[in-house]
Assembly symmetry: C2
Homo-oligomer: 484 residues x 2
Amino acid sequence: MTDSTTADVDRAARAAAGAFTATAAASARERAGWLRSVAEELDRNVDELVGIAGRETGLTEPRLRGEVARTSGQLRMFADVIEEGSYLEAVIDHADAGATPPKPDLRRILRPIGPVAIFAASNFPFAFSVAGGDTAAALAVGAPVVVKAHSGHRELSERTAELVTAALSAAGAPQGTFSLVSGREAGIALIEHPLIAAGSFTGSVAGGRALYDRAAQRPDPIPFFGELGSLNPVVVTAAADRARGAVLAEGLATSFQGSSGQLCTKPGLVLVPEDSVLEVALAAHVGESAHRLLTDSIDAAFRDGTEQLAAIPGVELVAGAGPAESQEPRPVVYAAGLEVFADARYREALTAEVFGPATLLVRYPDSVDDLPSHLAALEGSLTATIHAEPEDDIEELVAVLGERAGRLLFAGWPTGVAVTWSQHHGGPWPATTSQHTSVGATATRRFQRPIVYQDAPERVLPDALLDANPLGIPRRVDGALVVR
Amino acid sequence: MTDSTTADVDRAARAAAGAFTATAAASARERAGWLRSVAEELDRNVDELVGIAGRETGLTEPRLRGEVARTSGQLRMFADVIEEGSYLEAVIDHADAGATPPKPDLRRILRPIGPVAIFAASNFPFAFSVAGGDTAAALAVGAPVVVKAHSGHRELSERTAELVTAALSAAGAPQGTFSLVSGREAGIALIEHPLIAAGSFTGSVAGGRALYDRAAQRPDPIPFFGELGSLNPVVVTAAADRARGAVLAEGLATSFQGSSGQLCTKPGLVLVPEDSVLEVALAAHVGESAHRLLTDSIDAAFRDGTEQLAAIPGVELVAGAGPAESQEPRPVVYAAGLEVFADARYREALTAEVFGPATLLVRYPDSVDDLPSHLAALEGSLTATIHAEPEDDIEELVAVLGERAGRLLFAGWPTGVAVTWSQHHGGPWPATTSQHTSVGATATRRFQRPIVYQDAPERVLPDALLDANPLGIPRRVDGALVVR
């Protein structure tokens, strides 16, 4: 796939804008049909897709097969979500002539925002790429999509786009509902295109910031939903370490090495008591090798990041092999004392996300009571994890980590993001550039905006706002929630 | 009130950040108490407040008394909204060990985003100012507030802040929950302060854009919820003009002259058939004089805006008096043909918001079927209004105006924004800088962000997420909405 020209981008944006009136007018049932058609097409072609993806990304076959299943599952989940109808947030307030001042009839609903630019990620060639969660959420609400392919898996992107286009067409979606463009310059032209109404992105802080800035600096700024970088701190109390340090070591090892550590929720900072069972047990679970990283630039950044960590006075190699010991990327665990972590000179390097199979243990001398001030200084993360025992007082830890992260875990590890009604995959900057999630049912919100109809005749109202509620969806009517 | 120094701003932001843990932890019942306490204090001091406001703004006493009632009403509405509990969007998905992969227990809720900077408007010295809707929405969800006073009503701002501070203190809100700062430089320091987590603003496009840019250019960009400018187009069909042109004329006249036209929802562009009853009837309802405008700069901008309109070839004065005829600001109605409106050379001046008692009629020659392409080219507005008869085919008008505005009216006039569950006061740029509303129950969303608890023990969960639902709030549990 060659880079798209500016004319290609313009054509895609115009096609999306041309489709918009029809995609916005399509019923939830129709759009659910589009999503299920794409899901079936992916599942039907899983062998071919996984083959291409394996060659292009280096990710393992089991991981990629699981990811295709997750991706088609996401598409089907959004189909279910829009058929349920709550995503419209329909609210009806009938007129009240007796109020001071009198109140008109007002009926609110969410509608699609317009054509959306979606920037695919490198590390999830299916689930956060061409037919991934962002595409599914946008199509679900009736927003046409122009995807900017990730250069790390161009052939897969092109093949997936062919399947998506065919599936949408077969299911009756308007032409122009979905397009693919490719190349860095095309991406910039896309986010700046006057017909694009919103952007979404999963990737690095540098790349996401650059696109965020372009979106914000437009003559008409548009919302940009970026998921950028995340350290994902973990705190292990002394009691938890005593009770199950060896089990935690195994879980941590699996979590930070999976997919060669190239997950946005990889635990990158683990605060453990001094002389922890966890640290001693960890080495046995750290592999001799990792599969190759996704791209040359990720490989180079991993090398740089681990070199910077290794160079900090007081940082020790405790398991695996750093860049000095290995030409290939290998899993590696570093450790430092809390006094090193607290040193302002090293703070930036110690808290930078190192994308790949590396993690940093920070040994705290006494109790977790000393940690809140250190944790409060961290940048925002997608997740934070507390491993504690029932007798531990963790109230303050929960409060401070709740201000720094979007998901708080009290068992397990942050890698693995369940696609559910409740999920939130987001957090304070730089975890995300907005208050929204990119995983789970409420991811649709990013691509919707409210509209309210005042004193509208029935003939112009969407079905969702008719008094008779022909769609049978949950609504708030005159202040009361009505679930049918 | 003198301008605040940078040190004053820093003190206010630190006080807000210091209060945040406590405001976030306060129960909905406690926060509802704060809001009702402020509402009572405003109502108790209405005579004094209206006196100061009248001197400072030139707005009439009935208007200001109504605005105080609206403002205390807003505070009480948000108290009701948070006690109802839906604003938390609580979602519980219990663990599913049998799923592939197994699903953990996940519980989502919205929590306050952090300390909020609120920039007061000139034209609503109560309802969009110190104790206005933004302050009410932020306090409602537990976000501390630093208000930047509008220079147009400094004494009123200071007196209102005293009352708010006393009322919050009496109701037990933590110190630092609310502060007031003043001055342009202070406003910039405030939006750039590292402890401020979000901004909200009501005012001009230029002022809002400048602050939006500062918020977006921070090392850690923060959301900025601005309500900037709006033309509020109106379309009158030939049938509606025939049936009730004289009544529409009276309604339009009231709407564009009220508060001397200084309302963000003032109808600034009215598309009428040629030789309309409305146009002929309008002059009788256009006043000889308007009360003085809010500030010298608004007065100057009104003069500039009307001069620019009057200077366009083909634009006629049809009622009232333009700047050439009057030293004082006077209500004025201009008119032009659709061919003038379609002329690219004049487009910008013809579609610019003129804040003050002016409106522009555009006469279309044939039917409304010619209008959609012209309307599609308009910038975003807060509102759009269609006056039609049952026999009119307005499907296309509704579709195109639905893409350009946040509120669509089919009777009445856009000034007057009911404060309800359903209200949406927002629209595509430059109407607002976000997908959110600044009026109505969902205005709380701006100051919240989601958090999800994974496999959390009951002892760390907020009451809203306990299985027993001790707060009795609506929630989604394992996919199903549960209203108690």
